[in-house]
């Protein structure tokens, strides 16, 4: 599946400063692996060695947090938008 991955803030640095990169994969985990193969070190910016997302990182499929879908196993369709964003507080 071909998807667009939007990144912001510090995560941009892991993909040579781009705001958006095209990636392939049937699941969110495969997309991260695909990006890791092209941008070594990318995976470590978003998850730990066991595949657990870093606490301060939220990954959204279109507009929904994948933690409430199937996590890294969340299936993707062609044209999906994946956003990797830092957690923010308000108040």
């Amino acid at each position: 599946m071909a998807v667009q991955v939007h990144v912001t803030s510090v995560i941009q640095k892991a993909v040579d400063g781009q705001r958006q990169v095209a990636a392939d994969g049937n699941t969110v985990g495969e997309v991260i692996a695909n990006l890791e193969s092209r941008y070594p070190g990318f995976r470590a910016t978003v998850m730990d060695d066991s595949g657990q997302l870093h606490r301060f990182v939220n990954i959204y499929l279109n507009d929904e947090d994948i933690r409430y879908l199937q996590g890294s196993d969340t299936a993707l369709s062609d044209g999906d938008q994946v956003s990797i964003l830092p957690a923010l507080a308000g108040g």
């Binding site: 606490r55 933690r67 964003l85 957690a87 923010l88 507080a89």
Partner: protein, 311 residues
């Protein structure tokens, strides 16, 4: 209605149906109008609980200075209470907020300390901690860790919703400190475990470029993520559009995070067969007039939008 103080007017906010906002005619969306509180936001509830508890427990003494990191609303609510009860109030706020927030803080007598805008509220938290360490005699309620924050919602907001709409199926609110979602969510799930709690999160866009590492990210300890059943991210363009629609189609003048909450409610409604969704609109629109959102096209104001914090 006769009140002896504006602080007695906190809470008991109206719940109004948003007719025509649900993508599914069998799902009804209702808005809880927190802009009706005395300083115009939901934060009056937590400020009152945090200060009352500190006074009761002897942690806050007459004349003691109150310090708090805030993106605006909590600081404004604390400034009101401080002005009525004789506590000087100092707030740490990102310098990338609307001028109205700073003006209202000063109107209620608060001293404003600016933290670097690119670090957002995360930067305000860090700076307030430094200031607090240098002034151990000051009292910092610290909404991000203070259990009175979710407790205010557990004790007041949630029971009001249950009384007004016993058939509620889904509760939606914006994610700021997480106090609203945690407090309301816990109480609603005790009332009916089938109730779902969904948060609306702001898309940071090009903001927070100042974060040097993800470790500068911040998840408030008061947020109990186990209460959440979903999180919907909403970009600024969509938040602004729905905030405007609230005014033009429902007659509700609300702040930017309210547009995001309504958007998340619409997403939730699209996934239900039928039911009732309560969406909490955290504040009124007054503090956002300078954005131009009600009078200009988004494309015209977009650049300004992307340089400010909206909730």
């Amino acid at each position: 209605m006769l009140f002896r103080s504006v602080l007695e007017m906190v809470g008991d906010t109206p719940l109004v149906e948003l007719v025509g906002f649900s993508p599914n005619p069998a799902v009804h969306i209702y808005a809880k109008l927190e802009g009706q509180n005395p300083t115009g936001s939901v934060k009056d509830r937590i400020a009152k609980f945090m200060i009352d508890a500190a006074e009761r427990e002897g942690r806050l003494h007459p004349g003691q200075t109150i310090l708090e990191p805030t993106s605006g609303n909590t600081g404004i609510a604390l400034a009101l209470i401080g002005s009525l009860r004789g506590y000087p109030v100092k707030v740490v706020i990102p310098d990338a907020v609307t001028a109205e927030r700073v003006e209202i803080l000063r109107a209620f007598g608060a001293e404003v300390i600016f933290s670097p805008g690119p670090l957002g509220t995360n930067g305000s938290v860090a700076m307030a901690r430094e200031v607090a360490a240098a002034h151990p005699d000051w009292f910092m309620p610290f909404q991000y860790e203070n259990i009175e924050n979710p407790r205010a919602h557990y004790e007041t907001t949630a029971p009001e919703i249950i009384a007004d709409l016993p058939e509620i199926d889904v509760f939606v609110a914006g994610l700021g400190t997480g106090g609203t979602l945690t407090g309301v969510g816990r109480r609603l799930k005790e009332y009916n475990p089938a109730i779902k709690v969904v948060s609306a999160a702001p898309h940071p866009g090009d903001l927070v470029q100042g974060l040097r590492s993800l470790e500068e990210g911040y998840i408030p300890p008061v947020l109990d993520e186990s209460v959440l059943d979903g999180r919907i991210v909403v970009d600024s363009r969509t938040s602004f559009r729905l905030t405007k629609e609230l005014t033009t189609r429902a007659g509700i003048f609300a702040g930017i995070s309210s547009g995001a909450a309504v958007r998340a409610a619409q997403v939730a409604a699209g996934r239900m067969e039928s039911g009732h969704i309560v969406c909490l609109l955290a504040d009124g629109g007054w503090k956002y007039l300078s954005s131009g959102l009600w009078t200009q096209d988004y494309d015209v104001i977009e650049e300004d939008v992307n340089t400010k914090f909206w909730w």
